[in-house]
Structures are given as structure tokens and as C-alpha cells.
């Protein structure tokens, strides 16, 4: 099984807490946009929950794929 990852772009304020916490899923492009994998392995569930916790904009949604 894997996890679906979604960032609500109308909420995201580019704090980069997710990039900091789970760099294998989230990154910034050189153009300054947030980019992320749409799916991630179950082994990242805890890290993704941390990223959700740390996102000041409450923009990250994680659910079953």
C-alpha cells in the first residue's frame, strides 16, 4: 500500500517545513514553487504526519492512495 500526498496550493505559503522534514517527497523548484510526489510509501507515514504537523498553513493532506 502507499499514501496519497496532496498540497492545497491555495493554502501553501512556501514555509518549506515539509521540504525540511521529508525531502524525498517535497522540494522547491528553482523557480520557487513547491513540488512534491503525489504518492509515497507507507514507510513515510510518520514523517508525513510530522510534515502535516509542522506546516504552518495546514496545507498538506495525506490519505490512502
Amino acid at each position: 500500500m502507499s499514501l496519497r500526498v496532496h498540497v492545497d496550493r491555495t493554502h501553501c505559503e512556501l514555509h518549506g517545513q515539509c521540504v525540511e522534514r521529508v525531502p524525498s517527497v517535497f522540494r522547491f523548484t528553482d523557480g520557487g514553487d513547491l513540488d512534491h510526489l503525489a504518492e509515497a510509501g507507507d514507510d513515510l507515514a510518520d514523517d508525513l504526519a510530522d510534515a502535516q504537523f509542522l506546516c504552518p498553513a495546514q496545507a498538506i493532506e495525506v490519505g490512502p492512495a
Binding site: 512556501l14 514555509h15 518549506g16 522540494r27 522547491f28 528553482d30 510526489l37 503525489a38 504526519a49 504537523f53
Partner: protein, 426 residues
């Protein structure tokens, strides 16, 4: 049921955790306990009548009218109930019975605990003068933000006292609403304490371009008006006409209710890096009320940042359910942001007041830039002025204690996207 001696506490999770302060740090601790697998009782006690809400949007989206106040909510009643968190709102804690392990609430209720988490935050520094009955506000609570937002509708002349983050964000919101705004600051170099002179000046210039006036180097001597405020008088005799005065002169930790306890309360509750109070192993503190160790600083200090509150809440929730040997300590680099006219200033690390600033990189139009703060050739902090994409690099550099020389190569010749891993875009 007896509360065991301090060291048996370390091996068995507490039966009942009471969290005092139902805002960011408090609610995140309560929810974090469940995430960490805690099955005992959790009670969240709050002085304010509202469910936990987020403060950063108060001086940003709420003042601008972009968000209704309920969008600031951090947890719903259903979510808290679902997680088995008992919530007592509008009933501040007034005293702590340390030996009896009980918290006394204003209503007279006494709440027993095995572990107590203090998350009572901070409150605006009291204003030293008598003020007119209306037209003068702080900006800390939801009702403050709503009152100021509504006052904006009457086209007031706005005077902001104190050029910190909250005061200048408020100035930005007022200027965007087309209101005449004057900011008064006793220091000659507003925002320098927070950002350094270089970035502080850049932010001030941005404000000036949006029509905000600054009176620096002079303190307020009096606030005039009968029922309503009419003017603000500075110590050089300047009189500033005002219909709305907002005071943002800093905050003090809410520790009054803990007076007389063993806790070390000088500017916040002194804790070790796991979040436990230095004088009582059953008491923890998180967020704006707490003084935790900070990398690069010898004394623990309060960091009034959103991410610190959240990080500390996560650590304490984790540590509460574990024996002392498995506890985590804080490792995060402090991070804070502030929004002005749609531009975001982001700061990582904690600079000393006298640290120098060096610009590493500028946008082609010169309006946005990246700078580092440093002392003795080592980075203490870095800031992105309208360039959020540079943050990951800046964080790494600050965290690793990079030298200034190393930092200057961070934004060398532009790289293309292709030599980084590629992620499908949604």
C-alpha cells in the same frame, strides 16, 4: 492512586496529563499525546472562550479581510472529542498546588494531574499610560483582530506603537486598506533587532513605498482623548492625530498563576532540552511561555515563534510517554516568518544583536534578496527576503554552522533544474 517518586515517573507513563493553555502549543501537545499512543486522560484547560485558533493569520489574513475568523481554528470540538481530549474553556488556571499535583481553576474546580504541561503563552506587555476608553488596542487575541478589522471600515487615521513584526504587519494591512498609517518606535533603527540593520532597512523602505510614515527614536509620552482616542504625543512634543491606536510593544510570558511554585520563572519557565521544567520532573512547558535551550546560546531562552511552539509540543508529547533514557531533545533551527504587502520575510537561526549582515544573492530586479547574519566568520542566522525557494539551503547552512566563506558559494552560478531529482508536478 499515589504519584510515585520522580524516578518511577520515568518508567511509567502518567495516568493523567493536564495541559494548561488551549492555543497552538497546548492543543498540539494534547493531540500529539494521542499520536504518540498515550491512552490515559488528557485535559486541555484554556482561559479564552474559543476553541484553539492560530495567531499568525490575525495580523495578516484576518486583518486584510481575506479570512473569516473561523478559518484560524486549529482543531474542532468533534476532533478533540474523537481524540478523547477533555476541553475546559473560558476557565483560566489561577494557581498550582505542586505537592498535591492539582491545578486550581478560576471557577473553583481543582484538576488533578500526574504530569502537567504549561502552555499558557504570552500576553501583550501592559501599556504604561492611562488610555482613552476606546480606540486603543493590542493585537494578540481573536477579538482584538476582529475589533481592529472592523475599525478599519471607519477609515481611521492609524497610529502603530512599536515597530516589531506584529506592529509592522498591522501597518502593512492598514496601508493596503488605503488608510493613513504612522508607526512610532523609540529605537532609532526599527526591525534591526529582529532582522539586522540591512534587512530591517529594506523592510522599512518597502513600507515607506506603500505610504507608511515612521517616527523613530522617540517614545510615546501620552495618549490623548476623552471617550475615544484623538492623538498620540511623543517625547519630543510631536502630536500625531489618531482614530485608531494599536500597541505592539512586545509580550510577557503568562506565568503569574505559577508564582510561589518551585518553577524558575524569570522570563518564562526554565526547561531542559526535553521540555521538562528544571525544578519538577512532573511539570513540562512548551511554546511562548517556555525557556528551552537554543543552539548557539548558553542560556535557555524564549523563542516566540510558531514553529518552536509546534516542535516543542511534539517533543513533549513524545517524551511524556517514554522513559527518561529514550527522550528526545530539541534539535530544530528556529524559524520565523513575517508577511508585508504580499512579500514574505523568512528568518532561520537566531542572530545576536550585533551580528553583521551580508547579502548573498539578489533577484534580477534587486527587490528580493538572501542575506546571512554572522559573527566571527560563522553564520548565526539567514534570511530570505521574498525568496522562499532559498530556504532549504539556508537552513542547512545555518544548522551546520557554516562559515561565511562557505555561505558565499551557496548561490554561485545558477544551476538548472535537471541536475536535481525530478518530481512529477501536480
Amino acid at each position: 492512586m499515589t504519584a510515585g517518586p520522580a524516578d518511577s515517573q520515568a518508567h511509567r507513563p502518567p495516568d493523567r496529563v493536564v495541559v494548561v493553555g488551549a492555543s497552538l502549543a497546548g492543543v498540539r501537545t494534547a493531540l500529539g499525546l494521542r499520536r504518540a499512543g498515550f491512552t490515559g486522560g488528557v485535559t486541555l484547560v484554556g482561559a479564552e472562550p474559543w476553541l484553539p485558533y492560530d495567531r499568525p493569520p490575525l495580523s495578516k489574513q484576518v486583518l486584510l479581510g481575506e479570512w473569516t475568523p473561523d478559518r484560524t481554528r486549529l482543531a474542532s470540538a468533534e476532533q478533540l472529542a474523537e481524540q478523547g481530549i477533555e476541553v475546559l474553556l473560558g476557565d483560566p488556571a489561577v494557581a498550582l498546588d505542586e505537592d498535591g499535583r492539582r491545578v486550581l481553576l478560576d471557577s473553583g474546580a481543582r484538576i488533578g494531574f500526574d504530569a502537567l504541561v504549561v502552555a499558557t503563552g504570552a500576553a501583550p506587555r501592559p501599556w504604561p499610560f492611562p488610555t482613552p476608553a476606546s480606540g486603543v488596542h493590542d493585537l494578540r487575541r481573536l477579538d482584538d483582530a476582529v475589533a481592529i478589522r472592523d475599525a478599519f471600515d471607519t477609515a481611521p487615521r492609524v497610529v502603530v506603537v512599536g515597530a516589531g513584526f506584529v506592529g509592522t504587519e498591522l501597518a502593512s494591512a492598514a496601508a493596503r486598506r488605503g488608510l493613513p498609517v504612522t508607526v512610532v518606535e523609540p529605537r532609532p533603527d526599527p526591525l534591526a533587532a529582529q532582522l539586522g540593520t540591512l534587512a530591517g532597512t529594506a523592510l522599512l523602505d518597502l513600507h515607506r513605498r506603500h505610504g507608511v510614515r515612521f517616527h523613530t527614536g522617540h517614545a510615546v509620552r501620552a495618549v490623548h482623548g476623552g471617550d475615544r482616542v484623538s492623538s498620540v504625543e511623543l517625547d519630543d512634543g510631536t502630536l500625531l492625530d489618531a482614530d485608531l491606536v494599536v500597541v505592539g510593544i512586545g509580550v510577557l510570558p503568562n506565568t503569574g498563576w505559577l508564582r510561589g511554585s518551585s518553577l524558575e520563572l524569570t522570563d518564562g519557565i526554565r526547561c531542559d532540552g526535553t521540555g521538562v521544567a528544571t525544578t519538577n520532573p512532573a511539570i513540562w512547558a512548551v511554546g511562548d511561555v517556555a525557556r528551552w535551550p537554543v543552539a548557539g546560546h548558553t542560556e535557555p531562552r524564549r523563542v516566540e515563534h510558531w514553529t518552536s511552539a509546534v516542535e516543542q509540543a511534539g517533543i513533549v508529547a513524545y517524551n511524556l510517554v517514554r522513559p527518561a533514557a529514550e527522550r528526545r531533545v530539541t534539535a530544530a533551527t528556529p524559524y520565523v516568518w513575517t508577511d508585508h504587502y504580499g512579500l514574505k520575510v523568512q528568518l532561520v537561526g537566531l542572530a545576536g544583536a550585533d551580528d553583521e549582515s551580508t547579502v548573498l544573492h539578489r533577484s534580477p530586479d534587486g527587490e528580493r534578496f538572501v542575506a546571512v547574519r554572522h559573527a566571527g566568520g560563522r553564520l548565526s542566522a539567514a534570511l530570505a527576503f521574498g525568496m522562499p525557494e532559498t530556504l532549504p539551503k539556508l537552513r542547512t547552512a545555518v544548522r551546520s554552522g557554516a562559515s561565511l566563506t562557505e555561505a558565499t558559494t551557496l548561490f554561485g552560478p545558477a544551476t538548472t533544474d535537471t541536475d536535481r531529482y525530478v518530481v512529477p508536478r501536480r
